[in-house]
Amino acid sequence: MKAAQVTMETGAHAAALAVKSARVDVVPGYPITPQTSIMEAVAEMVENGELHARFIPVEGEHSAMAAAVAASAAGARVFTATSANGLLYMHEVLHMASGGRLPVVMCNVNRGIFAPWTLWADHQDSMAQRDTGWIQYHCSSNQEVFNTILQAFRVAEQINIPVMVNFDGFTISHCLMPLTVPPQEEIDRFLPPHEPEWRLDPAHPSSFSNVTNAPEYAPFRQMLSDDIMAAIPLVKQAAQEYKDITGMWDGDTIDTYRLEDAEVVAFAVNSMAAELRLSVDILREQGIKAGLLRPRLYLPFPAEDIINALPQNAQVMVLDRNYNFGHPGGILAAELKSVLFGRRNDITVKNRVMGIGGIDLTRRFMADEIRAMMDD
């Protein structure tokens, strides 16, 4: 058996390498900063024959997702990627992917939303797609981006729900980190070929998504609502089996650090959560019993795992890199409060919004914020 390769890669290139490892068939792509590097890398892999796939250089993100869902309905394994306003432009078609139960996997490289223009990371773009019926992961390292894309394909194809793999623009997409690419035979064992039980097939004509009366429409929506919740055990199973095969582990639905005896728990997603491990160490050095709970899976929201993981009487400091407009604070805090209500009345939830439009979130800054929040 061949050994795993370890190289220095950007997050964007890690994503492209995962697309190659997943033996994706069709990749419609459209450039947008900071996602562009993924599409460039995939296009190059297709051109030079490294990846046997079709790259479709579409004219916009709406078309990227429209080509993706159609290719998926034809039976192909499909990937695309986008950021910020590109994701918003896809919004209509995101619903088609989920409502149509098409297992598309997409990377969203998080970036703040226009207006005014910003190029840098926050999480308003993906969290604004909360109600589109997609499964959403948030990754905190380049390795996790690679690992998660492979797990995403497996979960998506098991449950026929599309998956969005989110990671921060520049902080992850453009920074070099060591990347382990497992041997292809290990990946093939983890992710077998895509064999959809239904596709557009002239030998067995059937139609996809005709107009539907309410008595038929409502059950489709209920089934999507039920099935997206049923993704949680599949996400855990995928993470465990990926670990069994490759030895790599990023957490399953949640990832924790020094949580067991924590009195103060930092709660955040994406790259800031990686930095928060260092903030936790700083706080511990200062005598504060700090810990970290990072939802790796944002949707479906891993309510039970969070409820079970939080130590007794903890203060949870939710650091939101987004706004929950019309409510004070951010979206993650609202989500967390809604699952704790009536279940964990011992927990105090505090919330600050930070890092908007790419403001740098250093370990010291976040440690200071958390300490200040103790007095909020």
Partner: protein
């Protein structure tokens, strides 16, 4: 490694009468005078509903919507539109 939950996709299957028994929409029925029919097949090709037999000019009244295109296009006047009772 198959879906653990039911994959509930909005799928439809080909069938005649997907719009119901559309013959009930009709106010007038096409009646073919076989004596005048030259079997030119013009009524067959212009029928939007594919309800006219190309060889025998027989109409499937279960689905014929009674649009009257066949009567309007028949070059020998072999088809007349008769009011439904």
């Amino acid at each position: 490694m198959k879906a653990v939950t039911k994959a509930y996709r909005p799928i439809s299957w080909p069938m005649k009468g997907a719009g119901g028994d559309t013959g009930t929409w009709r106010t007038h029925r096409p009646v073919v005078d076989i004596q005048k029919c030259t079997k030119c097949q013009i009524c067959w090709i212009y029928c939007p509903e594919a309800v006219i037999d190309r060889e025998e000019s027989i109409v499937d009244y279960r689905y014929c919507k009674g649009c009257g295109v066949c009567a309007a296009e028949c070059p020998t006047g072999a088809i007349s539109m008769v009011k439904e009772e």
